[in-house]
């Protein structure tokens, strides 16, 4: 036995180092990108550009964290992009209607929450596949938003609100502070609360979770509610950044969010995921675009390179994992 114990001790040791290493690896790849770019173009490391970069990655990062909760339960939320666009309209209308900003934000977040609960309902009570119910809301929400605005754009008449996105605090852009504001509780929630554990349990084997007394349906409601809530929050941030409400905004952001999550090491088959992963994933994508712009890469090449880099990065990540 003792031999096994010794061995096992080493094993778990290794595994712990590993998961640490993996996080590091992705971070490493991000840092690598930065170093390369810093050498390639003088402007990259300028404070101005770094804060641009942080601003540009923030919104997808937050979406990706929300998406991760859903993906851990082996689900998927295609609606987040549409929710972002839709909520920019909601908050624009509220603010222009003279509702106090804090209240407008609160209501907008509640709208997001409602959408998420509807997804939960569709999945648990109506038995719809997550892909379908969220695809349906994706389609419908854009329609509703366009209907409300009659396809036009609502300019937000409140400069304090629209100024927020450009503000800095301690030299760090306000938008990035919002990422921190979301990520820290998200991390605690996922890794240090029972509901976090339940997300994994449901994603791994709902039947076993259920027979262990986990309220599986409640967990699913929770996951989708959080995803939509985060999306609504991003909607608020986007509204401050572009100063308008427009239902067609954030098109395709769901794919970027899912990509960030998967790049960050989550499995679409559930039960695997973290909070730091999607954050790093999102900023890897943001860095690629930012760098390409600074290097004045032709925007067509930019797409090609993005695709290629996604493959390379995830491939290296795979290698690490096999290394287990």
């Amino acid at each position: 036995m003792s031999t096994v114990d010794a061995a096992s001790a080493k094993a778990s040791q290794a595994r712990r180092n590993y998961s640490f290493l993996f996080a590091l690896t992705l971070l490493g790849l991000l840092v690598l990108l930065w170093v390369v770019l810093a050498i390639a173009t003088p402007n990259f490391m300028s404070d101005k550009n770094i804060s641009n970069l942080l601003r540009q990655g923030s919104m997808i990062a937050i979406l990706a964290v929300g998406q991760t909760f859903v993906i851990i339960t082996a689900g998927i939320d295609l609606s987040v992009g549409a929710v972002v666009g839709f909520t920019t309209v909601i908050i624009a209308l509220l603010i222009n209607a003279g509702v106090p900003v804090w209240l407008s934000i609160l209501i907008t977040l509640l709208v997001g929450l409602g959408i998420g609960l509807f997804h939960g309902f569709g999945i648990t009570k109506m038995g719809l596949p997550p892909f379908i119910i969220t695809l349906a809301t994706l389609t419908s929400l854009r329609g509703i938003g366009l209907l409300i605005t009659n396809g036009s754009t609502i300019s937000i008449e409140n400069d304090d609100f629209t100024a927020f996105a450009t503000k800095d605090f301690l030299g760090i852009p306000s938008l990035f502070w919002m990422v921190i504001l979301v990520a820290v509780p998200a991390y605690i929630f996922l890794n240090h609360t029972r509901w976090g554990r339940y997300l994994f349990a449901v994603g791994s084997n709902p039947e076993s979770a259920r027979l262990s007394g986990v309220r599986v349906n409640a967990v699913i409601y929770l996951a989708y509610a959080l995803s939509s809530l985060f999306a609504a929050f991003v909607g608020v941030l986007l509204a401050t950044r572009i100063g308008i409400g427009n239902a067609t905004q954030a098109e395709g952001w769901e794919l970027q969010a899912i990509a960030s999550t998967v790049i960050g090491g989550s499995s679409l088959f559930g039960a695997v995921g973290s909070v730091h992963g999607p954050l790093i994933g999102a900023f890897i994508l943001a860095t690629i675009n930012n760098g390409a712009n600074l290097l004045n890469v032709n925007s067509f090449w930019q797409r090609i390179i993005t695709g290629g880099l996604i493959i390379v990065i995830v491939y290296f990540d795979q290698l690490r994992r096999r290394g287990r």
């Binding site: 601003r55 100024a163 450009t166 004045n296």
Partner: protein, 300 residues
């Protein structure tokens, strides 16, 4: 390095994937060559991607250029970012306006005017086909939430109102796909037997609508007005599938945009506002030198 000495003037368009903006970029490129300026060609991947264009503007300014030429994708949204950018470099606006006083100079086609031109052209074409300015007409917009397209629709409807006999029976918004434009037009023809005119308010929609007109062999009954041009549409114009094209002067916008920007960066006096105009080109006048030039810009 080398880039540091030579003057850099990035041009930011709305959507690099559309041919119209490629012509603008071609003009800018030519100006760059003629004036010995380095002209990075930037732009979002879709005219609806406002956040994308703001991001690109931020990045461009971070590159410390001599000036920036930009076609603002949304009036209000680009206002603040442009004010912000203008603090460090001169900003030259092209094609569309933005909610900012900070432009050093401004070269634009008025898209509302473009819509009006289309309406007049449509009325004329209908008269030519049916002998009277009467009947059902339809408007097909490529994408919702795109400033320039909304302005064209606005102008088109305002002007159309001046023709009491012309009834706008359908105002469709597609998803930017030629196939969708084709399907919509086909279905409109099925649903409205006495449809006499269609305005497809951008390149891709005109291609789809044109295909539908050709497919259903109704070119002699239904007048189609397109906006902007490429080989395909010119072909349609030749064979009469399309009655007329509203054509702006994107090449000149690009060229003069960069030229003006260079001047501005050298603190020279520049024209504050230039209208590059929107022209109605029909089969009849397409061979006039000016129009011929507009119809085949020197892209490559």
């Amino acid at each position: 390095p080398a880039a540091a000495e030579e003057v850099t003037i990035p041009i930011i368009v709305k959507d690099t994937t559309s041919f119209y903006w490629q012509i603008v970029l071609a003009g800018a490129r030519a100006a760059g060559k003629d004036l010995g300026v380095n002209v990075p060609e930037l732009g979002a991947q879709s005219e609806a991607d406002i956040n994308g264009q703001i991001t690109i503007l931020e990045n461009a300014v971070a590159g410390k250029p001599a000036a920036v030429v930009i076609a603002p994708t949304e009036f209000k949204a680009l206002g603040k970012p442009i004010d912000e950018a203008a603090k460090s470099v001169p900003i030259i606006g092209i094609d569309s306006a933005a909610d900012s006083k900070a432009f050093t100079s401004f070269l634009t086609t008025d898209n509302v005017e473009g819509g009006r031109v289309a309406a007049r052209g449509l009325a004329a074409a209908i008269k030519a086909k049916t002998g009277k300015e009467a009947g059902d007409v339809a408007l097909i917009t490529a994408l919702p939430g795109v400033g320039s397209l909304d302005q064209r629709a606005k102008g088109f409807k305002e002007e159309l109102a001046k023709y009491p006999e012309l009834k706008l029976v359908a105002d469709k918004v597609a998803d930017g796909q030629a196939t969708t434009g084709l399907n919509i037009t086909t279905d409109l023809l099925t649903a409205n037997p006495n449809l006499v005119g269609v305005f497809a308010s951008n390149l891709i929609m005109a291609q789809g609508a044109g295909q539908a007109i050709a497919e259903n062999k109704v070119a002699d009954k239904v007048a189609l007005i397109g906006f902007d041009n490429d080989d395909k549409l010119v072909g349609f114009l030749k064979d009469g599938t399309i009655a007329a094209l509203v054509v702006q002067d994107p090449y000149r916008m690009g060229y003069d945009g960069v030229k003006t920007a260079l001047a501005a960066s050298k603190k020279e006096k520049v024209e504050a506002f230039v209208d590059t105009g929107a022209n109605l080109i029909t089969k009849a006048n397409m061979d006039e030198a000016k129009n011929a030039a507009l119809l085949n810009p020197k892209v490559k």
